[in-house]
Symmetry: C2
């Protein structure tokens, strides 16, 4: 197995090495797509479990809509299609044939209308909504879909940006503008709670600028987090769609006052991209670190022995301990493979980021104790067998807290307020860890574009949680009332 490149040496390489070392995913023969390997997928399944419950607990119901969207449907909302036109996979034929010993596309199987592989499902879902919604009694309509989507990307990176990715997309319709706005913010809050309390990644919730909003939305909210290299990663978005799609897809309802009105809509989504955020927030040069609250395996027990007699005693004790620890976590794993050395096992589980490793050998058994190793701090303690359950329980809680605190400390350390463009420029040109820069901005897309052209720095979001203050746009000097976060971003 290849050595993990250190973060200091090459952060991008480190990221890819972690994915490889932890056995999360691999590049596929299908360019731009990845294979999510069993361990990587088990992390995603845990994300799904928590998110699905949150989505259902807030009254949404899952459904499933077609993968293929007829071209005429995708093009109904003009801004929407403009936003996605350049990154679509297009199905044009439906049959292969043999010709001169080769398998080729049968030219006679050309479709009368091309089908677009969904880049997102507003269009196909709202076509159904227009049939489902008749009266105010049908509102709010709260739907969610777990699905794969495809956006044709030229430069891909596992989890962060792949041609095909997995996600959930919520789609709702409401009777009033206020309800839609409340919904968009409510789901943003659910995402924030999930990312902060399960993934242990602190986020800033805010509003996207006009240039950065979703194609077809009235406005877009996002949660933004800071990776260890000081770059921003958008981990979730929630859109207030206003009535744009309702008008394009004729989604109307008879209101209590008897009048026919267009609905107000939202959509919101998070994807396998969050796995990338997880990797880049917590991992170290030895491998992945998975926060206990989301770890598919929280505890791994590694028996250590040399002779067959030792093996017998040690394995028995390890099995008994495993049963006991399953009271904390059903997925406690006893690594009893007899063809791997303890050392290579320690290494493997360290790379996979299992929160707690327990080593048990003849000496430990003689002392009625085991060795407990915490993945993040590498702290190693001998713990009496009788206390191990309580100890591990405490460590898991502590580790979850500490990972969040560490990520928050990093973010605080690399958060700046800058009010002068020269200083701003110098910061982004020279800082090793550029982080989040809070600056005033006039709201004009021209300033935003110039900054992006100058420094490859983008606006992330206008944080929701801030007081108004008077200031001057960092670029043009015009009046501004709020700060926006600028950052280099994934």
């Amino acid at each position: 197995m290849k050595k993990i490149t250190s973060r200091a040496e090459n952060y991008s390489e480190w990221y890819l090495d972690i994915i490889d070392a932890a056995d999360l995913a691999e590049n596929s023969v299908t360019k731009g797509s990845m294979v999510i390997k069993p361990y990587g997928y088990s992390i995603w399944e845990n994300f799904q479990k928590v998110l699905d419950k949150k989505i259902k607990d807030t009254g949404h119901k899952n459904a499933y809509f077609p993968l293929f969207i007829p071209k005429s449907l995708l093009t109904k909302e003009a801004k929407h299609v403009a936003g996605f036109a350049k990154e679509t996979a297009i199905v044009t034929h439906h049959r292969l044939m043999e010709k001169d010993g080769e398998i080729v596309v049968d030219p006679d199987s050309r479709l009368s209308e091309e089908l677009i592989v969904r880049p997102t499902s507003e269009t196909i879902i709202y076509d159904s909504f227009s049939k489902w919604i008749h009266s105010w009694r049908d509102l709010p309509l709260l739907i969610n879909q777990w699905a794969n989507v495809v956006r044709w990307e030229l430069r891909t990176r596992p989890f962060l940006r792949t041609t095909e990715f997995l996600w959930q997309e919520g789609h709702t319709a409401h009777a009033t503008e206020e309800e839609a706005e409340t919904e968009a913010l409510k789901m943003l809050k659910e995402y924030q709670d999930f990312v902060e309390n399960y993934l242990a990644i602190p986020v800033i919730a805010g509003r996207k600028t006009e240039s950065e909003k979703f194609a077809g939305a009235l406005h877009t909210y996002s949660i933004e987090s800071m990776m260890q290299d000081g770059k921003a990663l958008q981990t979730g978005t929630s859109h207030n769609l206003g009535q744009n799609f309702a008008q394009a897809f004729d989604v109307k309802f008879a209101d209590k006052d008897g009048k026919e009105k267009f609905v107000w809509q939202t959509s919101w989504g998070v994807s396998t991209r969050m796995v990338g955020a997880l990797i880049m927030t917590h991992s170290d040069d030895q491998g992945l670190i998975v926060p206990p609250a989301i770890a598919p395996v929280k505890i791994v027990i590694v028996p250590v022995y040399k002779t067959p007699e030792e093996a017998d005693t040690v394995l028995k004790a390890a099995q008994a301990l495993c049963v006991e620890l399953k009271s904390i976590d059903e997925n406690t794993h006893l690594d009893d493979r007899d063809y791997e050395t303890p050392g290579s096992k320690f290494n493997e589980w360290e790379k996979k980021g299992i929160p707690i490793r327990i080593e048990i050998g003849p000496k430990d058994i003689a002392n009625n104790s085991v060795v407990v190793v915490r993945r993040d701090t590498k702290e190693k303690n001998s713990i009496a067998i009788s206390e191990v359950v309580e100890n591990v329980k405490g460590l898991l809680v502590q580790m979850q807290k500490d990972l969040f605190a560490k990520a928050l400390a990093l973010r605080n350390e690399h958060t700046y307020q800058i009010d002068d463009y020269e200083e701003f420029k110098k910061h982004f040109e020279t800082a090793a860890i550029p982080g989040f820069v809070y600056s005033h901005w006039c709201g004009d897309a021209v300033c935003e574009q110039q900054i992006s052209d100058d420094l490859q720095v983008t606006t992330r979001c206008i944080p929701l949680d801030q007081k108004e203050e008077s200031g001057k746009c960092i670029k043009c000097g015009k009046d501004s009332k709020k700060r926006i976060i600028f950052a280099k971003a994934y």
Copy 2:
């Protein structure tokens, strides 16, 4: 709402009407694809929950592989591509553009190699297996994927046959032929257990003929069930792939004896088609009937009142009852909508096939009782409040048993042994409910094809659970040792 066509009048129309009446799915603007509506999807989610546990409990791990398969990869196993070539969706371009005010496919975005939307994932998964497997230590490799797949079908029917459908596909690799065979049969058994004990649908497990086996398999096992119209529906398949794919994809391992060998493989899958089987096995002319073991809502409570004073008392009692019944089923539902009449609620829940309906009104409260209605038998009893939990618990168990017994009785009633071709012919030409005909067959594909041409009757499977007996092929009279099931099929 449209009246449900009766089964006697038109079985095909009845099937579509049930889907509509129960709000399970609808046709989509994407030809051949369906929208799975929230209630239909919640049934599928319950299938997934049970199956996913079974798959994991038998040692398999979930993973995710790309939706798109490069044409060159799909064509590596000759029989496999031949089997799927005529029903593939093919991605040829990756960009839309505006031209003369129209959105068209950008001809410059043609892919250098066409991508096939997976009809099944053997090829793309075994490409990974060839990288994952090195030594006997890596075996068995037990993988499962939940995914959408696409097979271009000209004649589609919701759930039974749609261009895109949802399924799970298991893929395993083993060191020996015996292990692969054991695995294929083990997973068939798991499917049988699921379909019989959760969906309450009796099945016959058997082996497919050479003509009916999966494209690229050594042999295919299936479970077959009989619908109310006496037609067969294949509800799951499990394939022993032998070494066909291992050779095509170079999936080799170093065995304990130091020699390099090809692995032995299996694949197996069940899909949203099972929802179709569920509908057609149990439902009646009033609507869907869902077996309690798989019902998203097992119990619905409908309050009945006229005056506001009554409403107050009745709703309070209904709420208290709902809390109590949640001890049996978390998804007990209190239908407290104030804009629908009790009658239309009864009708709606009947159409949706909720196992138990409880009616509670002022008279019931005065008598300290409620009315309990069982969906399948429509049996209606007044039950003392103090006994309702025990009563409902018993009814749910009984209804599950009764649904299976009823389906089994129907199958037994329409199962025949026929040894003479004239009789066989007459049976399939005249029987209103043709059912399963057990006949001898010589094993020759020619006879099989002639029967299919003559009567539109296909071989379903050679039941595993039968004794050898000598007989003569129903078509050609050659010797045969086992009977095979002939049926009209979906």
